[in-house]
C-alpha cells in the first residue's frame, strides 16, 4: 500500500508538489519509487534554469529502468537536492521528505489548482 500524504498535490505521472508561498518542492511519489525499484542515479537540472509545466525536469534511473520526471509547474529552479545525487537511495527510503528533488519558484500559481488532491491521486494509483 503506497503512502499518499494528504497535504501534497499530485500529477498523473506520479510527481508530488508541496507548496510553500511562492515556491514548490517537487519529488516522486512512494508509488513511483516502488515501481522503479532501487534507484541508482538521478540527473538534476541546473539552478536558475527555467522550466515549463510538462517538460522533462529530472531523470531517475534504476538498474532496469529510466524514468523522466516532468515539471508539474512552470517556473524557475531555485534549488536542487544534491543529497540524492550522492545517495539516490534516499528517494526509495523517504520519497516525500529527504528524497525531494527540485525546488521551483512558481510563475503561474493557478497551475496548482489543476493538480490532483491526495484523495484523487489515491484513486488514480488504485486504477493504475
Amino acid at each position: 500500500m503506497s503512502n499518499v500524504p494528504a497535504n501534497l498535490r499530485y500529477t498523473e505521472q506520479h510527481e508530488w508538489v508541496k507548496i510553500d508561498g511562492g515556491t514548490a518542492l517537487v519529488g516522486i511519489t512512494d508509488f513511483a519509487q516502488n515501481a522503479l525499484g532501487d534507484i541508482t542515479f538521478v540527473e538534476l537540472p541546473t539552478v536558475d534554469q527555467d522550466v515549463q509545466q510538462g517538460n522533462e525536469l529530472v531523470v531517475v534511473e534504476s538498474t532496469k529502468a529510466a524514468s523522466d520526471v516532468y515539471a508539474p509547474l512552470s517556473g524557475k529552479v531555485v534549488e536542487v537536492n544534491s543529497a540524492v545525487e550522492d545517495e539516490p537511495e534516499l528517494i526509495n527510503a523517504d520519497p516525500f521528505n529527504r528524497g525531494w528533488l527540485v525546488k521551483i519558484k512558481v510563475s503561474d500559481p493557478a497551475q496548482v489548482e489543476s493538480m490532483m488532491s491526495a484523495e484523487d491521486y489515491q484513486k488514480h494509483i488504485g486504477n493504475d
Binding site: T40, T63, K64, A66
Partner: protein
C-alpha cells in the same frame, strides 16, 4: 542433414504430438506470400566447401611485402592469442545477460576496460564498439549530448575514412561540421581556435599520430576547447601509446581509436575493434556496454553489465546510442595481446617500430627525387614522401614486383597527388625496406 539433429522419425513424432503436418507449421503465411523454391545450389560437404574456399583464398595475393597502413597495420600476433580467444566458452557465448554463467566474459571486459584506461590515461572505458570509425562517430554524438551544442570542428588530418563516416552518421542531424585543413602536416591551431565558438562548438576532433603519421601534443587545443565550453576528442593508435604522450595527459575528454592492431589481423576490413574512454564525470553519457565490479549475496566479487539505463533496451528512443552489443571477442583479443606484451613489451615494441620507421624514412628520402613531406614533424610508424610524379603510378608499378609501397594520398588529398604514405611495422625487415628503396630508386 548437416547441423540438424532430429531424425526423420523424431520429426514425425514431434509433428504428431503437435497434431500438425510440416506444412501446417507455416499456415499463418498466406499462400500468396509464399516464395518459389530458392535458386540456391544444393548443399555441399565440408570437404567440398573447404576446397572451394581455399581456392578463393588462393586468388588473393597475401604475400606482398607491404608498407600499406593508413590506419590498419600488419602486426605480429603471438600464437597464444588465438589459442585463448577461440576457446568455445568465449566465442560461442552471447552478451553476458546472465552474469552467474558469464563471469569469464564479464571479468575479461572489466580487464579490457582497465587496460584501455591504462593505455590512454583516462578514467573509464566502455566494453568496445564496432571499429575506430564508429567509435569516433559515437564520441561526437556523445559530445553533442554533453554540451547541448551542435557544431563540430574536425581537423582534416583525421583519417579521411573516418571523416566520411562522420558525414554519413551526422548528415540527417542538422549538425554543423567545420573541417580545418592542416598546416604543415599537423592540426592548424590558428584555424581551429578561430572557429571555436563558446555558444556553438560541441567538440574539436583530432588524431594522434594523424593520418600523415605526424605526432602532436594537443594540450593547447584541450585548453582552448575547454575555455570555449567544448570537448576535445582524440582518436589514437594504441600501439603508439607504448611510447607517445597519452590523450589523458593532454586533457582530452573523449578518446577513441582503432584496435585492429592489437592482435586482430587485417582481415580485409573486419571484424575490427573500436575503443572509447572518457572522464568519470561523463560516464553516464557514454554509449555502449559497460561491465562493473560488484558483489554477490555472499560478498564475493563478481562482474555485471552496469549503467544499463543509458542503453537502447531500457531507454529506447532516448538511449545514448542504438548499439546493442560490444565487439566482445575482438576486445578479448586485444586484452590477451596486451597481456602477452606486458608493460615493457609494449614499450619495446613501440620503440622498435619507431626505429625501423626512422630507418625507412632515411633510406627512402636518400633517393634522388624523393623528398620527405612535413620534415619538421616527429613521426612514429608512418610518414609521407613526395615523388617526382603521381604516387599512384609508382605504387601500381611496384605492385608488379610484389610490393605494396604505401597509400597514395591523392585519393583523399588531391593537392598531395605526388605523396605516398608509407607504414612500417615490426614485421618489416631491413632487407625488405632496402628492397623497397631499390625498387623506388629504379622507378624515380
Amino acid at each position: 542433414m548437416p547441423f540438424i539433429a532430429n531424425t526423420e522419425e523424431q520429426r514425425l513424432a514431434m509433428l504428431d504430438e503437435l497434431g500438425l503436418t510440416a506444412e501446417q507449421l507455416f499456415d499463418d503465411i498466406p499462400a500468396e506470400l509464399r516464395c518459389a523454391p530458392l535458386r540456391v545450389d544444393p548443399g555441399l560437404s565440408e570437404q567440398e566447401v573447404r576446397t572451394r574456399m581455399a581456392g578463393l583464398a588462393d586468388r588473393n595475393v597475401s604475400d606482398l611485402i607491404s608498407f600499406l597502413g593508413a590506419g590498419y597495420y600488419d602486426h605480429f600476433v603471438p600464437a597464444a592469442v588465438n589459442a585463448l580467444v577461440y576457446r568455445s566458452e568465449f566465442y560461442t557465448a552471447y552478451t553476458p545477460y546472465q552474469p552467474e554463467i558469464s563471469q569469464g566474459t564479464l571479468q575479461a571486459i572489466y580487464e579490457y576496460q582497465s587496460m584501455i584506461c591504462r593505455l590512454t590515461d583516462m578514467d573509464v572505458a566502455n566494453a568496445s564498439m564496432y571499429d575506430g570509425g564508429t567509435a569516433l562517430c559515437e564520441a561526437l554524438t556523445m559530445a553533442i549530448r554533453i554540451s547541448g551544442r551542435k557544431s563540430l570542428i574536425i581537423d582534416e588530418s583525421v583519417s579521411p575514412i573516418h571523416r566520411i563516416m562522420i558525414q554519413s552518421y551526422t548528415d540527417n542531424l542538422g549538425i554543423e561540421r567545420i573541417q580545418t585543413p592542416p598546416s604543415a602536416g599537423c592540426a592548424n591551431r590558428d584555424r581551429i581556435i578561430e572557429q571555436l565558438n563558446n555558444q556553438k562548438t560541441a567538440a574539436v576532433i583530432v588524431q594522434n599520430p594523424n593520418f600523415f603519421g605526424c605526432l602532436d601534443d594537443f594540450s593547447d587545443l584541450a585548453e582552448a576547447a575547454h575555455a570555449a565550453g567544448a570537448l576535445l576528442i582524440v582518436s589514437c593508435y594504441p600501439i603508439a601509446l607504448g611510447m607517445v604522450k597519452t590523450p589523458g595527459a593532454m586533457n582530452a575528454d573523449i578518446v577513441t581509436g582503432e584496435g585492429q592492431c592489437l592482435g586482430l589481423g587485417l582481415n580485409f576490413g573486419g571484424p575490427y575493434l573500436g575503443f572509447m574512454a572518457t572522464r568519470k564525470k561523463h560516464v553516464r553519457k557514454m554509449p555502449g556496454r559497460i561491465a562493473g565490479r560488484t558483489v554477490d549475496r555472499q560478498g564475493r566479487d563478481g562482474f555485471v553489465l552496469t549503467l544499463q539505463a543509458r542503453e537502447q533496451h531500457i531507454r529506447r528512443e532516448k538511449a545514448a546510442s542504438n548499439i546493442c552489443t560490444n565487439q566482445s571477442l575482438c576486445a578479448l583479443t586485444a586484452l590477451t595481446y596486451l597481456s602477452l606484451l606486458g608493460k615493457h613489451g609494449l614499450a619495446e615494441l613501440a620503440a622498435l617500430i619507431a626505429d625501423k620507421t626512422e630507418y625507412a624514412c632515411q633510406k627512402l628520402t636518400a633517393i634522388d627525387g624523393v623528398k620527405r613531406k612535413f620534415p619538421e614533424k616527429s613521426i612514429f610508424n608512418e610518414f609521407v614522401i613526395e615523388l617526382p610524379y603521381a604516387a599512384g603510378e609508382a605504387v601500381g608499378r611496384l605492385i608488379e614486383s610484389k610490393m605494396a609501397a604505401g597509400f597514395p594520398l591523392g585519393r583523399y588529398y588531391p593537392e598531395l597527388e605526388r605523396c605516398l604514405l608509407v607504414a612500417v611495422t615490426e614485421k618489416r625487415t631491413r632487407h625488405e625496406i632496402d628492397r623497397l628503396a631499390d625498387a623506388l630508386e629504379d622507378l624515380v
